[in-house]
């Protein structure tokens, strides 16, 4: 993985001291909250429902065991013994004190981490495929490109005050595991007919109150023009994106209002101009970055497991992903125990995951946008030993991509923007399906819950989505069906009038009953929905 050079470290250390001074001036009353707010947000520090919340960047979700140990130590030292892994492959702490934040940031900097650009109207943490560098189906490892984009976008002076926040995802496989088309810019590394590597650009996707799937605006950008093209996309947005209305300020609105053709034409014109300016970093820099992501020293070993223990066999079937080496897999540690809080991990669990990464996965971990943790390179021969340790720690839930593997935003339990609670729904739904024993029978079923229209819980992209709304001061939940954030990206449609908390949990069960009744061989929930449409579900829910 990428390691800081002296420039990276100096920049991050300098930012810590700058923030220390800013926080001190705020505490002493030399600046007002109005003046301080944008400064703390630039460093990932929000004021949330119960306290300050700090969002820490985990670049494209990749971290090593030293960093995970530090995240655990921070949970113990500065928070209340836990952290929350987010749908942007980051981690958030919910109980941070302003007077301690600079010390916390200094601790983070000591392991090459920071919270810069995790908030504000700038380019946020670059996200990517959580199986990058390991997946059997990837063309190349997308992380060098993500790292190049990270370095380009960090402290970029032209893009520090965009009309609105800006999110970029990079993948390099046909299977989209990063919700690429639901980002402001989605980049897919591809090969053209001549066998050359390049990038397809999708621009103007997003969730939130106006969900949109990004259209492809360019089929192939040569790799030695990648940054120039990204910069052209941003420059057109920065110039014409709306600043008069925050709800219309995202690039998806600009692309929609201008039309894909006009936006693309303007980007191409800017791109042509910028090529003459020579803003692209030397190609050698990309080659240098690639050296940080070379394969670890894989060893030979068994290619199959002993399946005599059915619990272990189920976990292997559910929670491992095919690796490019046939005697390795990527193993997913579920942070979704039945009745648990999706994405939460205690300091003790973080320490354990770090230790397991060191022992079993070449010191690497990944954070999934689905709020689980990946050990990317695990020998099949070591799987039973790994599973045994996870089981003992309550981290062995075999539920990846099932109805128990629910994405849920923090919701009204933590978030000042939320209208309704998300987490209790996730807890009760996982309990309901664990109790009725249907989880396995239902197969792949992605359920995503947001506590407000901002859609941090990706409800638009759930096979089943739930959106919490405020109905005259009480929590109410809208149900959506048919969304997908994979390569077959689609946006869910609302079934009809909303439900109260008990009602929406019953409604989920009703919807799954219809699926089981109507499905044909091999169909996932999403396939059946797409074949039969909304009507049978609506009839069951409302008639």
């Amino acid at each position: 993985m990428y390691l800081y050079d002296s420039y990276d470290q100096a920049m991050v250390d300098a930012r810590v001291e700058e923030f220390r001074d800013q926080a001190q001036r705020r505490l002493e009353g030399r600046i007002t909250e109005e003046q301080f707010r944008p400064l703390r947000l630039m460093n990932g520090l929000y004021l949330q429902l119960h306290a300050y919340m700090l969002r820490v960047a985990i670049p494209y979700g990749t971290l090593n065991s030293t960093q995970m140990h530090m995240l655990a130590d921070i949970a113990d030292k500065y928070d209340r013994g836990y952290g929350h892994f987010t749908t942007r492959q980051n981690i958030q702490y919910n109980w941070i004190k302003l007077e301690e934040t600079a010390d916390l940031l200094a601790d983070l900097a000591s392991v090459e981490m920071h919270a810069i650009q995790t908030s504000g109207n700038c380019i946020r943490n670059i996200s990517s495929d959580h199986f990058a560098g390991a997946a059997a189906d990837e063309l190349v490892d997308p992380r060098p490109y993500a790292e190049l984009l990270r370095q380009w976008s960090s402290f970029h002076p032209e893009f520090s005050y965009l009309p609105r926040k800006f999110k970029i995802a990079v993948i390099a496989a046909e299977t989209d595991r990063a919700a690429m088309k639901l980002h402001d810019i989605g980049i897919q590394i591809i090969k053209n007919d001549a066998g050359e590597l390049g990038a397809a650009f999708y621009v103007g996707g997003g969730m939130g109150r106006t969900p949109m799937i990004a259209p492809m605006i360019r089929e192939f950008v040569p790799l030695d023009q990648l940054i120039t093209y990204a910069e052209a996309c941003l420059r057109v947005y920065n110039r014409y994106g709306r600043r008069d209305n925050k709800y219309k300020a995202r690039i998806k609105i600009l692309v929609h209002e201008l039309g894909k053709e006009e936006y693309t034409a303007q980007v191409e014109e800017e791109f042509k101009h910028m090529l003459e300016q020579g803003v692209e970093p030397p190609f050698a820099e990309l080659e240098r970055l690639r050296t940080f992501f070379e394969d670890p020293a894989f060893a030979d070993g068994a290619k199959t497991v002993d399946r005599s223990d059915p619990d272990f066999a189920l976990w292997v079937d559910r929670n491992t992903h095919r690796h490019k080496r046939d005697n390795y897999v990527s193993a997913v540690i579920s942070l979704k125990p039945v009745g648990g809080i999706p994405g939460d991990a205690s300091a003790e669990q973080m320490h354990l995951m770090a230790d397991l990464a060191k022992e079993f996965s070449f010191d690497e971990l990944r954070v999934m946008h689905t709020q689980n943790i990946v050990l990317p390179h695990v020998r099949i021969a070591d799987l039973h030993a790994l599973w045994t340790r996870l089981e003992a720690a309550g981290l062995g839930a075999p539920n990846l991509d099932t109805i128990e593997d629910i994405i849920a935003c923090p919701g009204l339990d933590y978030c000042s923007l939320a209208n309704a609670r998300s987490i209790p729904l996730a807890q009760r739904i996982s309990e309901r399906f664990a109790e009725n024993g249907r989880t396995e029978e239902l197969g792949e079923l992605k359920l995503k819950i947001s506590g407000c229209i901002n859609a941090c819980g990706h409800h638009h992209a759930g096979h089943i989505g739930i959106l919490g709304v405020d109905k005259k001061g009480t929590e109410n939940y809208q149900l959506l069906l048919g969304g997908s954030e994979a390569q077959d990206t689609s946006l869910g449609k609302i079934t009809g009038r909303g439900f109260d908390e008990n009602g929406v949990i019953d409604a989920i069960e009703t919807v799954t009953d219809i699926y089981l009744e109507k499905r044909e061989d091999g169909e996932r929930f999403l396939d059946t929905y797409r074949r039969i449409g909304m009507d049978p579900f609506k009839e069951a829910l409302y008639d």
Partner: protein, 98 residues
């Protein structure tokens, strides 16, 4: 009744105006009537509160109940972590919030 809430500047903790200073407990909150803006301006200037605001609430015996669920969650703590609320030993606390 109208009560005042905000966050402690240093710690971020949720606090409530009790008539003389700021309390962690919503039941200590007092009706400020028309004085909300004046109190908030004074307390903000003295950095005794951060991002303060006024909300509607009702007095129910010794208890003060904010009108909106968001402020009731703020007053107690996360309903999904009873151990981290201000009333970890009260089995009814979360039900009363919702």
């Amino acid at each position: 009744m109208k009560i005042l809430t905000g966050n402690d500047l240093k710690t971020g903790e949720v606090i409530w105006w009790d008539g003389e200073s700021w309390s962690r407990h919503v039941d200590d909150a007092v009706d400020v009537g028309d004085a909300a803006d004046a109190i908030l301006a004074r307390e903000d200037a003295a950095r005794r509160v951060n991002s303060g605001y006024a909300i509607e609430a009702s007095q129910e015996g010794d208890r003060v109940r904010p009108a909106h669920i968001k402020d009731r969650v703020r007053a107690l703590g996360p309903t999904v972590r009873p151990d981290l609320t201000l009333k970890p030993d009260d089995p009814d606390a979360i039900r009363e919030v919702v």
